[in-house]
Amino acid sequence: MAKLSRRQLARYAADKLSSGESAKSLAAQLAAVMIESKKADQIELLASDIAWELEQRQLASNAEVVSAHPLTAELRKQVRIFIKKATKADEVILQERLEPSLIGGLRIETADKSWDKSVRAALTEIREAF
């Protein structure tokens, strides 16, 4: 069996997901391939590559939203709309994480893009500007 690169596997997974294949069975197949090719330690990287492929194809955007305080439902909705508009993805998957050191504001990271509007980033920017 010819060895497939991680990028090729990611493309394959994106193709399968877009054709409606179950994510669970696909994940099992990919895990088997990675273990078989002795690349089990690169599974997280493969997941990132798949997310990038999906975002490039405007199918789905897997976004991590980091804030100092929990987001309200209204804010969550606004964030989702913003990401959908920015990535042009059909579906937006949000993963929220609290990080008090941000002080305030939020940081959004997708597979291909990132925005940092946290107070911490603003203060760092001020420090660097001087």
Partner: protein
Amino acid sequence: LSVVTLQFAESSSGGISSLGINLQGFIFQLITFVIVLLIIWKYVLPKIVATIEARRTTLEESLSQARATEEALAAAEAKAAELMTQARADADEAMAEAKKQAENVIAEAEKTAQERAARIIAEAEEHLDQERQNLHSQLRGELAGLVAAATEKVLHRKLDAKQDSSLIEQSIKELA
């Protein structure tokens, strides 16, 4: 000649004898004198003349040489004087040239020293300016750090969830 003389003596013996002169003796002496004179004329005189002539030639040559030597000496003295004059002129010119070169060297050295001093001063000023800018930048950075740290502390205490929500909403509007 002797015969003629004897005939003359015989014809006039009366007159001379009356004067108390022995005519024969006189004639003999005259002949002897003539012979001696002839010998001298023939053999001695040419040598003497030649010797004198040689001496005269030698003297003339010596004189000529002396004159030539004198002239040569005069010419040599004139040449020496000319050379001395030329040498003095050359020496004066060389001195003037050396003086001019020395002045040029001094002027060049002064110019170089002035340029170097100006460069050193400019470098020092630039260094000071750089130091001042560094210090200013450092102070500005420290001040910004202090302001940021103070702001951070204040915001940590003052920024509650409600205010943070408002801030996030504004941020999203800015991003959109």
